[in-house]
Symmetry: C2
């Protein structure tokens, strides 16, 4: 039997088990679901040594392969990080129950009562990269929202993920979690990911969490419903009427506070009437903080030593200490640039002009549009959702930060006493 077939069997079997378990998870009460999360949090703390031991195997392998220190950092667990994962589960348990709410309810003239009730999606599958904490976060959010989870992590984190899922499963089942509700795919080949993308009828939604390559592979190959997440080629436009002190503070925050994440700014657009005043100062501050600058010809004429920005730069999510800069002659030109090159994630205008603020908010077609604030705020925790399973950059179902309600769907329940259609 080919490797391909073996991974198909594993994915198929686990997706079927998850589907079966999902019916039972959906029927647990909120209290039962919360108790599972609390038991899992305790078990993670109790199993810290076992988890760290497994994680050391992954980290050693990554180092042998010459992984970057940023990569190793994301992969590495510590006592503190295990505690953080456990705390995360407790926090999710404390959130309001998203299920059972009537989204709308009305009575027809013929006496039929119609209610649209919030219910779990069923089976939520996630394909993700080398961060073991995602394993725990996704499991907690899925169980809390009444779903079963199918986890396809990266080969780099496989030992850590196995150890975590063992602990979560054992403690969860002891606390009443239906058998099969948490499935980890052990074959971490490309094939297993592709099989998961085609489990139509078994996987209700597939959420890819990772880089542009993973997202586009999933969009290209999936037959199951997908929610695209995370690519953030974010812009800040400093308008002719900007408060330049605010602009400076916002640009520095959006580039420097955490450059490796999706809501960091990647391109700065500056109106030509303030470029001469704004660019030399902001560029000096950015360089001082270690940012490499790439600019259009007008930027390069104003600031010495800026490399030439190519069309590829405008399209790139650097996730690094690099910033592209372009001088534009109007709000229209700024909006056009964002619509052409952006990823519809988070984009900001800095302006004191009421009309410019309103037009930017209306016309920029992104999940989050900011006026006079840092793009870094696009985040389920910052916005008070209490959790986040990803940031959707698509328009169907969920757009922007996704938390518990985005892991549910509506179902119409219609109660009658013998009505038929005339």
């Amino acid at each position: 039997m080919a490797l391909d077939d073996r991974s198909y069997e594993e994915v198929r079997t686990k997706a079927e088990l998850a589907k079966k378990a999902s019916k039972q998870v959906a029927r647990l009460s909120a209290k039962e679901r919360n108790n599972i999360l609390l038991a899992q949090a305790d078990a993670l703390l109790a199993a810290t040594d076992k988890i760290l031991e497994a994680n050391r195997l992954d980290v050693a392998r990554a180092k042998e392969k010459g992984a970057t220190s940023a990569f190793v950092d994301r992969l590495s667990l510590s006592e503190q990080r295990v505690r953080d994962m456990a705390t995360g589960l407790v926090q999710v348990a404390d959130l309001p129950d998203p299920l059972g709410v009537a989204l709308r309810k009305w009575r027809l003239p013929n006496g039929l009562d119609i209610a649209q009730i919030r219910v779990p999606l069923g089976v939520v599958a996630v394909i993700y990269e080398g961060r073991p904490n995602v394993t725990v976060d996704v499991t907690g959010l899925c169980i809390k929202s009444g779903n079963a989870a199918v986890l396809r992590g990266s080969s780099d984190a496989i030992e850590s993920n196995k150890a975590l899922v063992d602990v979560l499963t054992e403690a969860g089942e002891a606390a009443g979690c239906p058998h099969g509700a948490i499935q980890l795919i052990h074959s971490v080949s490309r094939e297993s990911a592709r099989h998961l993308m085609r489990m139509t009828g078994l996987v209700d939604v597939l959420i890819p969490r990772g880089g542009a390559g993973l997202i586009s592979t999933v969009v290209e190959n999936s037959t199951v419903p997908v929610i695209e997440t995370g690519i953030g080629n974010c812009h800040i436009y400093v308008d002719a009427m900007a408060d330049l002190a605010k602009a400076s503070k916002i640009v520095l925050n959006a580039k420097l506070q955490r450059p490796g994440v999706c809501n960091a700014v990647e391109t700065l657009l500056v109106h030509s009437s303030v470029a001469e005043q704004f660019l030399p100062t902001i560029c000096a501050s950015l360089r001082e903080a270690g940012v490499e600058l790439r600019g259009c010809p007008r930027t390069r004429a104003l600031v010495e030593g800026v490399a030439e920005a190519t069309d590829e730069d405008w399209q790139t999510e650097y996730l690094d200490l690099i910033l592209a800069i372009r001088v534009v002659d109007s709000l229209d030109e700024a909006i056009e640039h964002i619509e052409r090159y952006g990823s519809h994630h988070s984009d900001a205008i800095v302006t004191q002009d009421y009309d410019a603020a309103r037009r930017f908010a209306d016309e920029v077609d992104s999940a989050a549009v900011y006026v006079n604030a840092s793009t870094r705020f696009t985040d389920g925790f910052e916005w008070g959702f209490g959790a986040e399973i990803g940031i959707s950059t698509q328009k169907l179902h969920a757009r922007g930060p996704m938390a518990l309600p985005e892991l549910t769907t509506g179902k119409y329940v219609v109660l009658g006493d013998g009505q038929v259609r005339g």
Copy 2:
């Protein structure tokens, strides 16, 4: 240049034009959008002769090819049907505006104001079969909801569709509709449909309206977001505690009132404790109305001359005067059957038992679950939505009848005065 390439060019060009126009449609006021629909309604009436002339070409071609009378009926227009299409546009114009509403709005402790605003999806593409009225319905719903439309109808209706889109475009643009907002694909090959399924970044949602073959081709091949519609393998379960008079009325209505549509019943499940009393009578009534019956062995033992139902029967959406019948021993068995063979569209229980009603409503995983009412009610008009672009059988974004709100998405607008993330 191959035919394939020509249709690619057409689809690509029209999708790009629609995308460009969609930005302008989104900025029209509700009054402007309504005026376009009213002008289009008037123009349809004024162009009745031209439309009927074009339709005669389609109908003649269909008859030459030996199409069934049901097919020819769906394809045929008449003065009355043109009037109905115009009335439909006026009714949609009269519906409340779905745009601009804040779905939620809150202020963060740091002073940021966040609002989730309802905005258009952008470009809505629809692939559909030989009903010319869909051309008008979809155009009206798209313009009303601030979207541009890309229409890929069937070759059977191409002359009718061209005439309709000519009228809608000319009258629409004269009333202020942005140029390019209504795009009809003239190449009606399979290739043009496949190209449309892959216009990632240009098509914001693709809705297939048609039979099982079309839906599965779209799900299999699309890279753009899809909403699955319409396959309805619907069930009625007559419980041990059913009021059999109600059951009889509901079953006859759900099978006979309009057998060719997705919310008609296809399989009847009957609890064994009432089968002997219920089945002979209902089967006699169904047969009298011309219904062909296919049953499980226990059904066949109770009612003479019923053909044997195969596994394929349980899976089939007949859309015809055929009914599959199965005797089950419990509510669990009924739910299991529905979950295994159903299409998660509309399923009903007939019972006077409170617990059975509650369990059926909770555990059957369908877009609409009925207690003591006909499945035929699943319909945007019946439910008071005033319009319908299809009935979704998937769980993401929209589930059940889809009207104007389902053609929109949320967008977060965040207003600050210089906030940065700490």
